[in-house]
């Protein structure tokens, strides 16, 4: 069994990775751009890497995703950037210039490493998690918390709106998606 999958009984509320992947597919996303994130590694990245419906582009540093997604959007191809919140923080300047100032449809799915899903991210005792939503707010980037299966319904409208209106969006993954 893959080491990054949930153990039985580790989380009482399920967030199905397969549901998230179905929503990503339904949004017309063809390219996944990623540096592995432990939150989404087992439930999302690994199944995506095995899914012929996606073209997975593994990058060295998260800000590459921002440029690649922009280039793809000029070709009318949709991409999802799948990264950890630390990578989001590392990419702020590229997000500032490409996504916000040039109004590019950069869709980011961001794992909140170390986040306790029973609290709101902006109340997290973890500094890095606590500052994510305020930073997104300050940058004017719409964001949605995907914490349980009912939240998965937010994904497709968020991505569709990002491409229709040409602006970035962040989908924050609050708990480890299961591999089912």
């Amino acid at each position: 069994m893959d080491a990054d999958l949930l153990e039985a009984g580790e989380d009482t509320i399920e967030l199905k990775g397969s549901s998230i992947i179905a929503a990503i597919k339904a949004s017309g996303v063809e390219f996944i751009l990623s540096v592995p994130d432990i939150v989404t590694s087992g439930g999302l990245l690994r199944p995506i890497s095995r899914d012929p419906a996606f073209k997975l582009i593994r990058v060295c540093k998260e800000d590459e995703c921002i440029g690649i997604a922009s280039g793809l959007s000029y070709c009318d191809k949709r991409a999802l950037t799948l990264i950890q919140y630390t990578g989001f923080l590392d990419s702020i300047n590229a997000i500032r210039g490409v996504a916000v100032e040039y109004r590019q449809p950069i869709c980011m799915m961001i794992g909140l490493l170390g986040h306790d899903p029973s609290t709101a991210p902006r109340n997290s005792p973890r500094y890095g998690v606590r500052i994510i939503e305020p930073i997104l707010d300050a940058m004017g980037i719409p964001h949605h918390l995907i914490n349980e299966d009912a939240d998965v319904a937010k994904i497709r409208p968020a991505i569709e709106d990002a491409y229709a209106a040409s602006h970035p969006v962040a989908l924050l993954i609050g708990r480890r998606p299961s591999a089912s």
Binding site: K55, G67, I68, S73, Y74, C75, A79, R96, G97
Partner: protein, 187 residues
Amino acid sequence: MMKRDECFRALARHVTDEVVVATYSSAVDWLALGERALNYFSVGAMGVDSSHALGLALGRPDKRIICLQGDGSLLMNLGCLVTIAAAAPKNLVHMVVQNGTYEANGSHPIPNTKVEFAAMARAAGYAHVHEFSELANFEQQAAHVLKQDGPVFATLHVERSKPLTYDYANLYDPARRVALKAALRAS
């Protein structure tokens, strides 16, 4: 040692419907050769020009994509060499203009003016790697380089240019982005 504007003049003789990604001094010198809708200047952050080029190459495998990147920019995104080599787009030509200088930021030297980008690209796994220091050689090889199955990497060793005027409002005009998208859809 070559001059950047002379290199670009030689290159332009062979460019027809390729998308050309260029930033800072490279963008100024490339634009001086003439307006074209398939220019991509709005890179947004230093260093990610090569990543934009990769996205274009992946999105339009039927079109050649040429990236004219400065050495200072590539230093900010060295990992892109590995990413690009791994993605292996056949239609990407990645040229780095090496003059050892952050020209747009006050002409300060880069940390190591003798850094060997071609060696890095070769080690990363680019399909073809070239280095040019003589204009006559580059003029002779340019057409061949542009046609090779990529990703292709080429270092252009150039001297520092005379001070340029950076009209960023023009380079980054939103109308250019609109025109580029329309031109890509039409081509």
